[in-house]
């Protein structure tokens, strides 16, 4: 079964916490990765790769730049993940 939006956001929060050391509770839908969460462009790649593995989804480099907020990423994953 595909992950729900809630599961995706909490999964992203764990990933961002692991990679950038940001408290899990700070990772909210409206937060910008770069401006609010201090995830720079290279850490963003690590976040994306970890999210790909966790949610069984492919996020090509060209699409990464469109993922400005946690909500953008959650929507993208929800739309592209492979239902199990």
């Amino acid at each position: 079964m595909a992950a729900t939006q809630e599961e995706i956001v909490s999964g992203l929060a764990e990933i961002v916490n692991e990679i950038a050391g940001i408290p899990v509770e700070d990772v909210q839908l409206d937060k910008s990765f770069t401006d609010d969460l201090d995830v720079d462009s290279l850490s963003m790649v690590e976040v994306v790769v970890a999210a790909e593995e966790r949610f069984d989804v492919k996020i090509p480099d060209d699409d990464v730049k469109n993922l400005k907020t946690v909500g953008d990423a959650a929507d993208y994953i929800a739309k592209h993940q492979v239902a199990k």
């Binding site: 720079d40 462009s41 290279l42 963003m44 790649v45 690590e46 994306v48 790769v49 480099d61 990464v64 730049k65």
Partner: protein, 333 residues
């Protein structure tokens, strides 16, 4: 059909000596900041680079190579006459022909070695090492000088805030010769030409000659795409090289990745789950990215500073424009 006598080489090959040359001028981030809108903190956090060396007009590709090679030959306990193969890996020698390897060989005082240049970007050293090993095992050479040398400052766009701080100049060299046991493992190498635009010279020389562009060509790259490939795809290649050598990460003493960027190195170490006892080359901090020269330069520094010692087992991996890559396990000289 006439019977052809097979060539006879050594059963195995090894790295016998290493040498490096870093240009005299040390360039701190403050100098880079004169032409880009950035900060020392930003450059350090994105790349781990604090200083790099830039060559003077006298520190040519040939001159730097001769310095590094002389040290490598001495370190191997050989004299120039013992060298019968010279391979130069570079992308920043601006005279297409003849190969700069022949001039270097001559000025070093070698005899008449096989001498040629190769172009394999930041994987150039690994490609050269692999060719040299094959030559020694095949018997077509007994002692091969492999040089990685770059003057990337000539190919740097100092107004490009994504790359202005990255590149440095220098030369590193090793001697590959015969061994009684395997001291250079199987090479895992390859190319991904479908990603050729991720790291590339901006335009061909002819575009500049013909006035199609005003700026001398430079190296540009797509940072995020390169980072993803370098960390996650190259970690797989590194693991394959360990598997091919029949060892695990726990058997390693040293890890010498191409010195592209400290963030790539840190992330690779994490992805590969390298044990804490493994010494990791972090020469990029004071040398910048010197492409084909970075691995032998880092190797030389680790040995010179006592962070690594002769006989240590090291994983080396180069990766860069092509995209191309080469990884192997070696015993340090």
């Amino acid at each position: 059909m006439a019977k052809i006598k097979p060539s006879k080489g050594s059963p195995y090959a090894r790295i016998m000596g290493v040498g490096g040359y870093r240009p005299t001028r040390v360039v701190p981030n403050e100098v880079i900041l004169e032409t880009i809108d950035s900060s020392d903190e930003w450059i350090r956090s994105r790349s781990g680079i604090a200083t790099r060396h830039w060559a003077s007009p006298e520190e040519t590709v040939t001159a730097m190579s001769i310095e590094a090679s002389g040290k490598a030959i001495a370190d191997a306990g050989l004299s120039p006459q013992d060298i019968d193969g010279v391979i130069v890996a570079t992308v920043s020698h601006f005279k297409q022909t003849p190969a700069v390897a022949t001039e270097i060989a001559d000025k070093l005082g070698t005899g008449k070695p096989a001498a040629f240049d190769i172009s394999a970007g930041c994987a150039g050293f690994g490609y050269g090492l692999t060719l040299a090993k094959s030559m020694v095992i095949d018997g077509s050479a007994s002692h091969v000088l492999v040089i990685g040398v770059e003057r990337l400052s000539d190919l740097t766009d100092l107004t490009d805030r994504a790359t202005a701080f990255l590149f440095g100049d220098g030369a590193g060299a090793v001697i590959v010769g015969p061994a009684k046991e395997p001291m250079i493992g199987p090479t895992v190498w390859g190319s991904e030409g479908d990603k050729s635009t991720t790291i590339t010279q901006t335009v061909p020389w002819t575009d500049y000659r013909d006035g199609a562009v005003e700026r001398f060509p430079a190296i540009m790259q797509e940072g995020q795409a390169v980072f993803r490939w370098a960390v996650f795809e190259m970690a797989k290649v590194a693991q394959q090289a360990l598997d091919a050598a029949g060892i695990s990460a726990h058997d390693l003493d040293v890890f010498i990745p191409h010195q592209a960027n400290m963030r790539i190195i840190d992330s690779m170490v994490k992805t590969l789950k390298l044990p804490e006892h493994v010494t990791v080359a972090r020469d990029v901090e004071t040398t910048g990215n010197t492409s084909a020269a970075s691995i032998p330069l880092a190797m030389e520094r680790l040995l010179a500073t006592g962070q690594a010692k002769s006989g240590d087992t090291a994983l080396v991996i180069g990766f860069g424009a092509g995209l191309v890559y080469a990884a192997t396990v070696v015993t340090l000289p």
